[in-house]
C-alpha cells in the first residue's frame, strides 16, 4: 500500500510547527509499516498528550489518544486482551519519561510486546517551551529562564536498566536508519524502545540558539555516531545511534497464556 493509504487525510493539516521533526518520524514509521506489509486492522497506535502524541490521529489504524503520560498503561490493557495486535506507542520525552516515567520502566520490566517510540525534542512544545527531563543541564526554557540545573536522563541507558529487550536510537536526520530500526523494533517480540532525536526549532531551538530546523538536523549529523564506533572513543561527547540491545526474552502475554493453561489444568 502507498504511504498515503495509511494517512487520515481528513485530519490534515497537522498541528506541528514548520521545521518540526515529528513529521519525519511519522514518515519513517509509515514506511517501516509499509515495508513490513502489515494490515491496517492489526495495528493499534496508543499515544498520550503533547505534540508527539497527535501522531495517532493522523494514521489510519486503531488509534487511542489517551491522557498525559499513561499511553503505555492503556496499551498494556489492549495488548493483554488482544495479544495478536501490534501495539505502537509514540510518546514525547516529557510524556514518556517525566509524567509517564513509571509506566515506561514497568512496561520495560514486564517485557510486554509493544514498540515505544520516544520522540525526543528536549522540550514541552505544546505548552510553549518548558524544560523536560531530557533538556539537560545548562539549557534554557521558559521555566528555566536563568538556566536549567536538572540533569537529563539518557533514554537508552534507562531503557536498558529497566530491562527492555530492544533498545535503539536514531535521529530525524538519519531517516533511512530510523525506518530500518523501527521495522526491527516492530518485529521484535518484547518491549522495544526507540528514541528519536527530533528537532523543535520553535521552542528548544530558539531558546537555546540552535539555529533553524536544518541547523538542528545538521547537529544530529555532526554529533552522532554509530554504536561502538571508533569516533565515540575519540570523542566521548558524540551521541551514539543504532541498536543497543536486541535480546530474546520471555514475552509477557505469552507467559500469561501459560498461566491460563496452568489455571485451567488445576480446575479440571
Amino acid at each position: 500500500m502507498a504511504i498515503k493509504g495509511y494517512i487520515r487525510e481528513r485530519f490534515f493539516p497537522h498541528i506541528w510547527c514548520p521545521g518540526c521533526g515529528h513529521g519525519i518520524v511519522l514518515n519513517s514509521l509509515l514506511r517501516a509499516i509499509e515495508k513490513l506489509g502489515m494490515s491496517k486492522n492489526e495495528i493499534v497506535v496508543v499515544s498520550g498528550i503533547g505534540c508527539s502524541s497527535r501522531i495517532s490521529g493522523y494514521v489510519d489504524f486503531h488509534t487511542l489518544h489517551t491522557i498525559h503520560g499513561r499511553a503505555l498503561a492503556f496499551a498494556t490493557g489492549v495488548k493483554m486482551s488482544r495479544p495478536e495486535l501490534n501495539l505502537i506507542v509514540p510518546m514525547g520525552d516529557g510524556d514518556a519519561l517525566a509524567i509517564g516515567g513509571n509506566h515506561f520502566i514497568h512496561s520495560a520490566r514486564r517485557n510486554i510486546d509493544m514498540t515505544a517510540i520516544v520522540m525526543n525534542n528536549r522540550i514541552y512544545g505544546m505548552t510553549g517551551g518548558q524544560y523536560s527531563p531530557l533538556s539537560g543541564y545548562g539549557t534554557l526554557a521558559t521555566t528555566a529562564p536563568y538556566t536549567n540545573i536538572d540533569y537529563a536522563f539518557d533514554t537508552v541507558e534507562l531503557a536498558k536498566a529497566a530491562g527492555a529487550s530492544f533498545v535503539a536510537r536514531s535521529t530525524t536526520y538519519h531517516v533511512q536508519q530510523l525506518t530500518k530500526i523501527l521495522k526491527q523494533a516492530i518485529l521484535h517480540e518484547g518491549f522495544s524502545v526507540v528514541e528519536v532525536l527530533s528537532q523543535c526549532p520553535t521552542y528548544f531551538g530558539r531558546k537555546n540558539r540552535k539555529g533553524t530546523a536544518a541547523d538542528m538536523m545538521e547537529f544530529y549529523k555532526d554529533n552522532t555516531t554509530p554504536v561502538g564506533s571508533k569516533a565515540k572513543k575519540e570523542n566521548p561527547d558524540l551521541i551514539e545511534r543504532g541498536v543497543f540491545v536486541e535480546k530474546e526474552m520471555l514475552e509477557y502475554c505469552r507467559e500469561y497464556e501459560k498461566i491460563i493453561e496452568r489455571a485451567m489444568k488445576g480446575r479440571s
Partner: protein, 383 residues
C-alpha cells in the same frame, strides 16, 4: 447434602462472584486495603476461565489498562480504596468522555489522605460524584449485604454496557470484610447486558460517536474491521478532535443527559415500612444494616419508623426520595461521613428543616444504639 451454591464469604468475594457472573474478562489493579481481596481472588479465578489479570504499577495505570482492554470488547473492572480512587480520577474522566464501559470498585476506608485504612467510612460519596474534573454525569451504586453486593455488581456491568459509562461500586470496609451468606444465582437467572456492537459492515462508514435514535452507541472492537480514533478531547461523530462550539455543546449535553434522563431506570433502592412511617431513616451501604435493625426493633414497640435504603447514590434519585418522604414528620439520614447524602436529601424533600443526621466519623461502625440515641433527641425525648 452440601449446597455448592451457598457460600459463607466476605463482601469483597461476593463482588468477585458478581463480576464473574456478569462476564468479567479483564481486571487490572494495585494492592490497597480494604479492597485487596478482590485483586487476590481474581488473580486466581480469572485465568481459570481464560480471563486476564494484571497487577499494575499504580492505580493510574490500572485505570488505563482496563480502559484499553474494554476497547477490545472485554468486560473490565478495577478495585481500590480512597487513595487509589483519588489517583484514578483523571482516567475515570477519560472513560466518561470516550464512553468506554468499565466498573470501578471503591471499598471505602477513612480519609482524607492515608486516613484510617483498616476502618470503615462512607466519606467518598462526593468524590465518586465530582472527583474527576469538568461537567459530567456518573453512576454510583452501593449495597448493604452480600446478596445485594452480588446483585449490584451484576447491575454495574449491565448499566455500564447499556449507557457506555464507567460505573462506580461504592462499598465500604464493613461490607468488604464482613462474612455472611451468599446464595449464588444460577447462570441465566439474572439478565446480563452484553456489549452492543455495531452492525455496520466492513467498508461502510462507521461513526463511532454517532448515537442511535435510542441514544445508545454501538461499538466496534479495537482490532476489528473498523478503524477509528478515540480521544479525551472533545470530538465529533468520527472521534476526531473538535473545538467547534456546537460539537462541544452537543457532546457534553449527550454525556450528561444519557445519565440524567434515565435517573429512574438507574435508581435502585429498598424500602421497609414506609407506608405509614412518621419518621423515615435514609441510609445506604453498611450503615443501612444498623438503620434497618433500629426499624425492626422499634416497630413492635409502637414507633412508626421506616427505612429507605438507597443503592443508587448517583444519579441521586431526587424524585423518589421526595415522594417517599412526603408524609414523614422527620427524616434522618444515617451515614458514616459529615453529611454527604444528607445534603442531597435536604435538596430533595419539601421541608429540609425536618431532615437530620445520625452519623459516625471516627472509623467505628455506626450501631443501632447510636441511631436510637439520636432519634430520642430528634423526637424530644431527651439526651
Amino acid at each position: 447434602m452440601k449446597n455448592q451454591n451457598i457460600k459463607f464469604i466476605q463482601g469483597n468475594e461476593a463482588c468477585v462472584e458478581g463480576a464473574l457472573y456478569a462476564g468479567l474478562d479483564f481486571f487490572a489493579g494495585y494492592p490497597i486495603t480494604p479492597s485487596t481481596e478482590i485483586a487476590e481472588l481474581l488473580s486466581y479465578r480469572l485465568p481459570q476461565k481464560g480471563g486476564k489479570f494484571i497487577q499494575m504499577e499504580d492505580e493510574i495505570a490500572s485505570m488505563g489498562a482496563i480502559i484499553g482492554a474494554s476497547l477490545t470488547g472485554s468486560k473490565v473492572m478495577t478495585a481500590t480504596s480512597g487513595p487509589g480512587f483519588s489517583l484514578m480520577q483523571e482516567a475515570l474522566g477519560y472513560a466518561i468522555m470516550t464512553e468506554i464501559p468499565c466498573v470501578i470498585v471503591n471499598v471505602q476506608r477513612g480519609g482524607p489522605s492515608t486516613g484510617i485504612p483498616t476502618h470503615v467510612s462512607q466519606g467518598d460519596v462526593y468524590q465518586a460524584r465530582w472527583g474527576t474534573h469538568g461537567d459530567h454525569a456518573i453512576v454510583t451504586i452501593t449495597a448493604s449485604n452480600h446478596q445485594d453486593v452480588f446483585q449490584t455488581t451484576v447491575d454495574a456491568f449491565n448499566i455500564s454496557e447499556t449507557y457506555r459509562t464507567p460505573v462506580i461500586l461504592l462499598y465500604d470496609e464493613v461490607i468488604g470484610h464482613m462474612r455472611e451468606q451468599l446464595v449464588l444465582p444460577k447462570q441465566g437467572e439474572l439478565p446480563l447486558v452484553e456489549r452492543l456492537r455495531t452492525s455496520v459492515r466492513e467498508g461502510v462508514n462507521y461513526h463511532p460517536y454517532l448515537p442511535r435514535e435510542d441514544g445508545r452507541l454501538p461499538m466496534s472492537d479495537f482490532g476489528g474491521v473498523h478503524r477509528y480514533n478515540v480521544t479525551g478531547l472533545f470530538h465529533d461523530m468520527w472521534g476526531f478532535p473538535s473545538d467547534n462550539p456546537e460539537v462541544v455543546h452537543d457532546l457534553i449535553r449527550h454525556l450528561v443527559d444519557k445519565i440524567r434522563n434515565n435517573v429512574n431506570q438507574i435508581a435502585r433502592f429498598k424500602e421497609y415500612y414506609l407506608e405509614d412511617a412518621k419518621c423515615i431513616l435514609i441510609s445506604y451501604g453498611s450503615s443501612a444494616r444498623s438503620a434497618r435493625h433500629v426499624v425492626e426493633y422499634l416497630r413492635p414497640r409502637g414507633e412508626k419508623l421506616g427505612l429507605l435504603e438507597l443503592q443508587t447514590l448517583w444519579p441521586f434519585p431526587h424524585d423518589i426520595v421526595n415522594e417517599k418522604c412526603v408524609n414523614a414528620k422527620h427524616v434522618v439520614v444515617v451515614e458514616m461521613n459529615m453529611g454527604q447524602i444528607l445534603r442531597e436529601v435536604k435538596r430533595a424533600v419539601e421541608r429540609p428543616e425536618r431532615v437530620f443526621i445520625a452519623n459516625r466519623i471516627d472509623g467505628v461502625f455506626i450501631t443501632p444504639k447510636d441511631i436510637r440515641d439520636i432519634l430520642r433527641v430528634i423526637q424530644g425525648k431527651g439526651v
